[in-house]
């Protein structure tokens, strides 16, 4: 139910954006975010709920770097 997946913004008119999910283009509502083309957004139920700061690979590297600091 709360599945959301990242996609790359191709173009946006401020209301609707064309978002690419590994080659699949979908129209997404961008009323909750303000993404630039090229940025990744997290999409849930046809709605972008956040702009992602970085791509997934980098994110996972940073995740474990963070843990090292904690232990």
């Amino acid at each position: 139910m709360c599945i959301a997946i990242p996609g790359k913004v191709i173009a946006s008119d401020g209301t609707t954006a064309q978002v690419d999910f590994k080659g699949n283009t979908v129209d997404v509502n961008v009323g909750l975010v303000d993404p630039r083309p090229g940025q990744y957004v997290l999409v849930h139920a046809g709605c972008a709920i956040e702009v992602m700061e970085q791509d997934k690979a980098q994110e996972l590297i940073d995740l474990f770097a963070e843990l090292e600091d904690l232990s």
Binding site: I3, I5, F21, K22, G23, N24, T25, V26
Partner: protein
């Protein structure tokens, strides 16, 4: 021009449709006799199968319902180790169907039948009220050469499982069209005869073959594990999935392991023949992306080793998936 109830009347309008569409594309020595039934010379062990096709849209990237109806039944025969020979086609047309569409579909069936090496030996057409839909039933028979023993009950510990290519392409292609999601995903709809011939001619002892259609890989492997009384262990990372299909599956929360295909098969062979079988499959048109995805072990059930080394059960598909993809 559209199909009307008159095209199913059995009268002159029906006869015109027969000659202008089906007669034009399906010419062959058996059908041209126009008798009540085809009379065939065939002997020995025979595989016999039937399947109905209800996909919407009827035309899609990589094929149409006609091509699908030939490949589906031919593939079912091939999976028993048979050499498909004859096929019948029953059409149910809804009034309002464009005759041009029907013509394109009949042409594609004829082409596919030729490529698959089967003769269309009999056919029938009925028209029902509706809104331009089209359904096809095909039945086929094929000879099983001496010495072939292919069955879902034949697997033994130590055997390897080969998948002929990427998962989920047909399912994703049909759903994309229905949901108007833009991508380049093409249906894998195709006849697997090149693969089965390569394996048999290459001298591989094939234990089991299954085409991976509705229910997906998960469902089919569970059936094989049950029938053979063995455990199947897969490696998640070895299973090929096209990136675009993966993206599509993510959007809808689908799992490629349960998505339907129309031109993919698994083959189970003796462990020591696995590399040889893989090389043979990879040389064929329909098996370019084949991979060894797992093996048969003592025990029961189907399991998958995940990317990080975890293990989980791979169960059958529950619920409906989504209707009318084949």
């Amino acid at each position: 021009m559209k199909i009307t109830m008159a095209h199913g009347s059995g009268g002159k309008t029906s006869a015109e449709l027969m000659s202008s569409v089906f007669g034009k594309h399906f010419k062959n020595s058996v059908l041209d006799k126009m008798e009540d039934a085809a009379v065939l010379d065939i002997s020995g062990r025979i595989a016999f199968s039937t399947d109905s096709f209800v996909v919407t849209p009827v035309q899609f990237k990589g094929g149409d319902i006609g091509k699908l109806s030939i490949c589906g039944t031919v593939n079912d025969l091939l999976m028993m180790g048979a050499e498909p020979a004859y096929i019948t086609c029953g059409f149910i047309l809804e009034e309002g169907l464009e005759i041009e569409t029907l013509d394109e579909i009949a042409r594609s069936m004829a082409l596919q039948a030729k490529e698959a090496g089967v003769i269309i030996a009999a056919g029938d057409t009925k028209v029902v009220e509706g809104s331009g839909g089209l359904y096809i039933n095909t039945s086929g028979i094929g000879r099983i050469p001496q010495g072939r023993d292919v069955s879902a009950a034949n697997c033994k510990p130590g055997d390897k499982i080969l998948l002929s290519g990427t998962l989920g392409d047909h399912h994703a292609c049909i759903l994309s069209a229905r949901m108007e999601i833009e991508n380049n995903i093409t249906s894998d709809c195709g006849c697997l005869r090149d693969i089965t011939e390569a394996l048999f001619e290459g001298g591989i002892t094939v234990r089991t073959m299954r085409d991976v259609t509705r229910g997906g890989l998960g469902t089919i492997l569970n059936e094989i594990a049950d029938n053979s009384g063995c455990k199947i262990q897969l490696q998640e990372e070895a299973i090929p999935v096209n990136e675009e299909v993966r993206g599509f599956a993510d959007i809808l929360g689908l799992d490629p392991l349960y998505m339907g295909n129309e031109g993919k098969m698994i083959t189970v062979v003796k462990g020591e023949q696995a590399q040889e079988a893989l090389a043979l499959i990879k040389q064929t048109e329909h098996g370019k992306h084949a991979a060894i995805i797992g093996e048969v072990e003592e025990g029961k059930g189907t399991f998958i080793t995940t990317r990080l080394g975890g293990s989980r059960v791979l169960d059958v598909l529950y619920g409906e998936g989504l209707p009318r993809i084949c």
